[in-house]
Every structure is written in structure tokens, then in C-alpha cells.
């Protein structure tokens, strides 16, 4: 009884349990390789992956930085483009009807189908990857922002009207701030997609980045290197996600309690 409550309530347990889960998963992985005597060119041991990373940490971190930059730039562009479009859609029914089906159609396209085209149009540099990230992030950001803008409680709108507030005041003092928690929900969905977007972009044709490391390791059957790159990708994804969570806690301390 006391054990159970300690595991669910204490702070140190909140940190220890995920680590325990990770260690258990790695142990299982290792055990499976030993138990079924899996060949190392099919599945490397965790130790081999770690060794691969330690063999050339500078190179791998450099490739991580490349992918990180593509992810962040595309994500930033998606915010800069997506939020204003969401605001316009919410403001005008005509615009919503005009643009919304188009957005749905673009979102329905498997992004991987566009990746080769981006290479044809913009080559092997950074730009096509950033655009791919932008493409995958755009939709969730637009949708969550638009929903957030529509979620303003009617009674708060009526309150502002009874105070004789203008449209601009209603927007900046009420609707926009009220939408922020939902905007963050969209951002958290988008940031995980963003990492995937950068890898897709690199798969289609690149000379650097973690996605490039994975494809080129396939050519030499260096499975351990591919695993090292994958591990770095997930670490990057986790850091970006929790960075957003932290930002939300700092910017919107009221949001956790009211939703």
C-alpha cells in the first residue's frame, strides 16, 4: 500500500520510473540477441551502438546539429505561416470555405510523395528539408490555433462587450490569450512530426544530417551506425518536446489548472 502510493506520488519516482523503463528495454534487447543468437549485421547489441557513437562523436553530433537546424527552421516557419492563416480563417467564413478544403487536400497527401519533387526543385541543400518540415507541421498548427480561437467562452465575449471593448481589445485581451493553451497542444503534436519531416527530407536526397547517416549506413550494412543515428533522433525529439512543455509551464502557468 505504502509502496504503491510512493510510486505514484513522489517526485523521485517520477524521474526514476522512466529510467527504469529504459534500462529494462535495453536489457530485453540485449537478452533477445543473446537468447536467439541474432547476427550483429541484423541487430547490433546496445553496447555496439554505444561504441559506434563513441568512435566518432564529433561527426554524429555534427549531423545531429544539421537535422536539428532543419527541424527548428521548418517548425518556426510553420508557426509564422500557420498562426496568421488560422487567424484569418477564424475571422472570415468566406476565407474558411475557400481555403479549408485546400488545406485538407494538402494534408492528405503523403508527404513522402512530395520529397523527391522538392529535391528536383531545390536540390540537395537545406531548403527542401526545411520546406518538408514546414509541410508536415503546418496543418496541426493551423487546426489547433483555429480551434483555440473559436473556443472563447461566450460569456467572456459578452463581458467584454458589456465593458464597451473594441474589436481589437476583444482580440488581444481575450481571444488570442484564451487560444494559447490549444496552440501549444498543436505545437507539441507538430514538433514530433517536424523531426520526422527532416528525416524524410534527408532520405530523398541529402549530403548530411541524421537521415543521410541512416541511408548511407544502409549502403555499407553498418546497422550499428544506423541505430546510433536513430537513437540521436529520438533524444532530439524528446528534448524538443519537453522544451515546449517547459515553455508552456513558464508562459501559461494558469492553463494547467483551468483545462
Amino acid at each position: 500500500m505504502t509502496n504503491r502510493s510512493w510510486l505514484t506520488t513522489s517526485r523521485s519516482a517520477a524521474v526514476l520510473l522512466p529510467i527504469l523503463g529504459l534500462v529494462a528495454a535495453i536489457a530485453l534487447w540485449w537478452l533477445a540477441i543473446v537468447a536467439f543468437s541474432i547476427e550483429s549485421f541484423l541487430l547490433p547489441t546496445p553496447g555496439a551502438v554505444a561504441a559506434k557513437f563513441l568512435e566518432q562523436p564529433g561527426y554524429l553530433l555534427q549531423q545531429t546539429w544539421v537535422s536539428f537546424l532543419e527541424t527548428i527552421l521548418g517548425f518556426g516557419l510553420a508557426i509564422v505561416a500557420g498562426v496568421p492563416i488560422a487567424l484569418l480563417i477564424v475571422r472570415s467564413v468566406i476565407l474558411e470555405r475557400l481555403v479549408y478544403p485546400l488545406l485538407l487536400a494538402v494534408n492528405a497527401i503523403p508527404k513522402i510523395a512530395i520529397a523527391p519533387l522538392l529535391v528536383v526543385w531545390w536540390g540537395f541543400g537545406q531548403l527542401p528539408k526545411v520546406l518538408m518540415v514546414l509541410l508536415v507541421c503546418f496543418f496541426p498548427i493551423v487546426i489547433s490555433t483555429a480551434q483555440g480561437m473559436k473556443s472563447t467562452p461566450a460569456e467572456l465575449v459578452e463581458l467584454l462587450r458589456s465593458l464597451k471593448a473594441g474589436k481589437a481589445q476583444e482580440f488581444f485581451k481575450l481571444r488570442l490569450i484564451y487560444a494559447l493553451p490549444q496552440v501549444f497542444t498543436g505545437l507539441k503534436v507538430a514538433i514530433s512530426l517536424a523531426v520526422i519531416g527532416s528525416v524524410i527530407g534527408e532520405f530523398a536526397g541529402a549530403t548530411e544530417g541524421l537521415g543521410y547517416v541512416i541511408t548511407s549506413s544502409g549502403a555499407t550494412a553498418d546497422v550499428a551506425l544506423a541505430f546510433a543515428a536513430i537513437a540521436l533522433l529520438s533524444v532530439m525529439s524528446i528534448i524538443l518536446f519537453y522544451g515546449l512543455v517547459l515553455l508552456e509551464h513558464l508562459l501559461l502557468p494558469w492553463a494547467q489548472e483551468t483545462r
Binding site: 465593458l163 464597451k164 485581451k173 492553463a255 489548472e257
Partner: protein, 262 residues
């Protein structure tokens, strides 16, 4: 202070026209406390929104302080059933919202002082920096009350402001409201569905009939103040009037004969 002449309201809905209010004639004097009661759907909240300028009447005239109402006025405040506080603003900043919205012509410092006084008046001194979710429902509604008082309104319109509160908080707040009204000399129109609350608070109780809302009767309450919902020195008077109002509200549609209560 408030003048309603032959006011009616028709809503065009999907199911057709709904006559919400019809032929409302009512004059509310300066510094008077009027409560509106009626069954749900009798249009009492609609009537309040007409006075607030949040909704234009389909026909008839609405005037506040001698001027026809066409839009919300700065000297009329509106208080809702729920506290309607902005969750990211502190207590003080929520109270100051009307001042901020009015803009630069107001002396901000003076109003901050006034906000502190008002919060003290309702027993919330020391809570200025708290966020709304840290307060109980009763405390939140007190903040809402302070917010509606900050601009020194001539008229306060209150739409069932205590109905979501527990009985004890409700009793306390209705006593506070009477005290505040006497101190600040405002005119109040207060919508409620509680007969007792209507009797305890009002100088006059206005009874509305349902669908369409018409004036059924206007009852003068001649019980000395302060009155209380709790330990009540005027229990028998309140009970008598309440019984009468109860009978009016329980009438079947066919028995209702609207009166001209000008």
C-alpha cells in the same frame, strides 16, 4: 433611472418566431433595488440584456439616465451567473479590467486604490495577486462583484449572480450586496429564480409571466433593511410575500392576466 416603454423581443429561430418579451412597461427609480423573477424561459435575462445594450429590442424603447440605449454604456455594469474572470489575470488585474478597457482618460493610480478598497470591502484583501483558479466559487464571484463596481456604475445589472453558490455564501453575499448598495447608492436590477432572494434584496419585485414574458405583478417590499436570508428578524413578512409570489409563479397559463404596472 431606467425606463422601459412597451418593450418586446422576438427571436427568429430555426423553429420559427419566438416571442420572448411583450409589452414591458417599467420605471426603475434612482437608487432603487428591483428584482426580476419568473420561471425559466420567461425572458428575464433577455430583459437585462436589453437594458445593458447588449441586445436591441425588437420594439419599444429602453432608456437609461434619460438617454435611449443603443449600445453598452460605461456607467452600466453587468454581472453574470458565473464569475467570468480571465483565468490568466490576477484578482487585482481582473478587477481593473474595465478601467483598462476604458483607456487612458482614467487616472489609473486612483482606480488601483479603489480596487484595493473594494476588495477589502468584500473581505478579499491579501488575495490581490492570486489567480482565479486559486479561489473558491464564492471568492471568485466577489471578485466579479468588485469588477462590476470599479467604474462607479450608476446602474448594476445582475443576472442570477449568486445562483451557483452554496447557501451560506449566498446569504453572506446578499447581505454584502445590500450594504454596498446603501453605501454606494447605485440602482440595481437583479434577476433571480429564488423567491426568497428576490424578497430579501428588493425594494420592488417584478414578476414576469412565461412565453411571452409580460409583467404579471409588481410587489413593493416594505420590510426595513438590512434584511437577511439567514438569521432573519422579518421571517413572517418574508414568508407572507414569498407565499404570494409563489402563487403567482405557479399560475397556469390560462389564469394569467397581465397588468399594466406603470
Amino acid at each position: 433611472m431606467i425606463k422601459l416603454d412597451g418593450v418586446g423581443q422576438v427571436f427568429e429561430g430555426r423553429a420559427g418566431r419566438v416571442q420572448a418579451l411583450d409589452g414591458i412597461d417599467l420605471h426603475v427609480q434612482e437608487n432603487e433595488f428591483v428584482t426580476l423573477i419568473g420561471r425559466s424561459g420567461c425572458g428575464k435575462s433577455t430583459l437585462l440584456r436589453l437594458i445593458a445594450g447588449l441586445l436591441p429590442p425588437t420594439y419599444g424603447g429602453v432608456a437609461v439616465a434619460g438617454e435611449p440605449v443603443t449600445a453598452p454604456r460605461r456607467d452600466v455594469s453587468f454581472m453574470f451567473q458565473r464569475p467570468a474572470l480571465l483565468p490568466w489575470r490576477s484578482v487585482l488585474s481582473n478587477v481593473m479590467l474595465p478601467v483598462e478597457i476604458s483607456g487612458g482618460d482614467l487616472d489609473r493610480k486612483k482606480y488601483v486604490e479603489r480596487a484595493h478598497e473594494l476588495l477589502e470591502l468584500v473581505g478579499l484583501d491579501g488575495f490581490e495577486r492570486r489567480l482565479p483558479h486559486e479561489l473558491s466559487g464564492g471568492m471568485q464571484q466577489r471578485v466579479s462583484l468588485c469588477r462590476s463596481l470599479i467604474r462607479r456604475p450608476k446602474v448594476m445589472l445582475m443576472d442570477e449572480p449568486f445562483s451557483a453558490l452554496d447557501a451560506l455564501t449566498r446569504t453572506e453575499l446578499s447581505e454584502e450586496l445590500q450594504r454596498i448598495q446603501m453605501e454606494l447608492a447605485t440602482t440595481i436590477v437583479f434577476v433571480t429564480h429564488s423567491i426568497e432572494e428576490a424578497v430579501v434584496l428588493a425594494d420592488r419585485v417584478v414578476v414576469l409571466t412565461p412565453r411571452p414574458g409580460r409583467l404579471r405583478e409588481v410587489v413593493e417590499i416594505d420590510i426595513p433593511r438590512p434584511r437577511s436570508l439567514g438569521q432573519n428578524a422579518h421571517l413572517t413578512e418574508v414568508a407572507q410575500i414569498s407565499a404570494h409570489l409563489h402563487a403567482l409563479l405557479a399560475e397556469k397559463q390560462a389564469e394569467i392576466r397581465p397588468v399594466d404596472a406603470r
